[in-house]
């Protein structure tokens, strides 16, 4: 298994401080979900964990070693990142996209091997995209396209999978489809998943580990039953709500009442 953690992490865009000295440890083999209001820095944290953003201060550790001191290629064999709304050349087919996932495992002149074909086929069947393998990306619906990207990340064969708002722009059924797929990947293949989600109730339902962010600091983290409270939602989102037990799987469920007055 691969471990991922951050120590004394501070992040900024130019002069604007986004994240202020946080420590974070991603639990292995679990689904961790980062929540917080718009602009609180949750995507920024995810991007820095995937070495897409240089920390201003502090260090990200992948397998105990500073991520920025490892070669990008070695990191890509352990950690896959799916940024928000990625774009590809329009005439690319799903299968071609998937083969890009083999890139970190390849040398300059190496060709596709039968092993590569097996891995791509397996990823496509895991995401139920086999029948769309030869379609171009622009001929897919939003949900299918997102599944195509997830297939590419799977082909990368990493222990860690990071996703930035994977359900954005999808209708509810397709959101659930993506979340179920990710849970399945976690349970069946033991992949560690870290993602940013907007929908609080979905976060509470699918997370093993919930991380709430407020103004560049970690407000509270832990299992949803501990973190997902009336107080947290009031402090982090300025929202009055009541929390009930989800009758389906006993996870906490938030019913909004209105904006907090203070």
């Amino acid at each position: 298994m691969t471990t991922l953690s951050a120590e004394h992490l501070s992040l900024s865009y130019g002069a604007t401080q986004i994240i202020d000295n946080i420590d974070l440890e991603i639990p292995e083999g679990k689904i961790s979900i980062i929540i917080g209001s718009n602009g609180c820095g949750k995507s920024t944290i995810l991007r820095s964990l995937a070495r897409l953003l240089m920390p201003q201060q502090g260090t990200i550790y992948l397998d105990g070693k500073a991520i920025h001191q490892q070669s990008s290629k070695e990191v890509a064999k352990k950690l896959a990142i799916l940024p928000q709304a990625p774009e590809a050349p329009e005439d690319l087919t799903v299968k071609e996209l998937c083969y890009y996932g083999r890139h970190p495992h390849k040398g300059l002149f190496s060709r596709q091997t039968p092993e590569d074909h097996r891995i791509v086929d397996r990823a496509l069947s895991a995401t139920k995209m086999t029948e769309f393998a030869d379609r171009t990306l622009d001929a897919l619906s939003g949900g299918q396209r997102q599944r195509a990207w997830i297939s590419m990340a799977l082909v990368q064969e990493t222990d860690l999978l990071l996703l930035d708002e994977p359900t954005t722009y999808l209708d509810l059924a397709h959101q659930i489809e993506i979340l179920e797929l990710l849970r399945d990947l976690n349970v069946t293949y033991g992949r560690t998943i870290v993602m940013v989600l907007h929908d609080l109730n979905q976060a509470a339902q699918y997370a093993d580990h919930l991380i709430s962010i407020k103004k560049g600091k970690i407000y509270k983290e832990g299992p949803p039953e501990k973190v997902f409270t009336k107080e947290m939602i009031k402090d982090v989102f300025r929202l009055e709500c009541c929390i009930i037990e989800n009758p389906v799987d006993q996870t906490p469920l938030c019913i909004p009442i209105g904006l907090s007055q203070d």
Binding site: A50, L52, K73, A76, I81, A88, Y100, K106, Q156
Partner: protein
Amino acid sequence: MVGIALGAICQAGIEYFMVKFPDDVNTTLLWLTGSLWGRGWDQVLFLLPCLVLVPVLFALTSKMDVLSLGDDIATGLGERSKLLRYILLSVSVILIGVCVAAVGSIGFIGLIAPILPGEW
């Protein structure tokens, strides 16, 4: 914007030489239009050392493909996007630079060139 500014500066340079050396204006005009006329083995020998860079570009093709998915994805797939961009840009500038120096700017090649390799 940067392209227009750079173009204007280079244009100014060319015009300076035309005004300064009016006797050679004919050669300048020929070079500006771009022509293979009167070009021979001298120019080929001058271009030869740069051929070393062509295999370099071929070796980088798979990396170029990855870069077409955007910098974030390329980094995620293990490339150092910024460095790669600089290398590719430098190699292209050198190759195009020596070609233009030899035969001038033959029009429309810039339009055709990016499409040709894409067809393969």
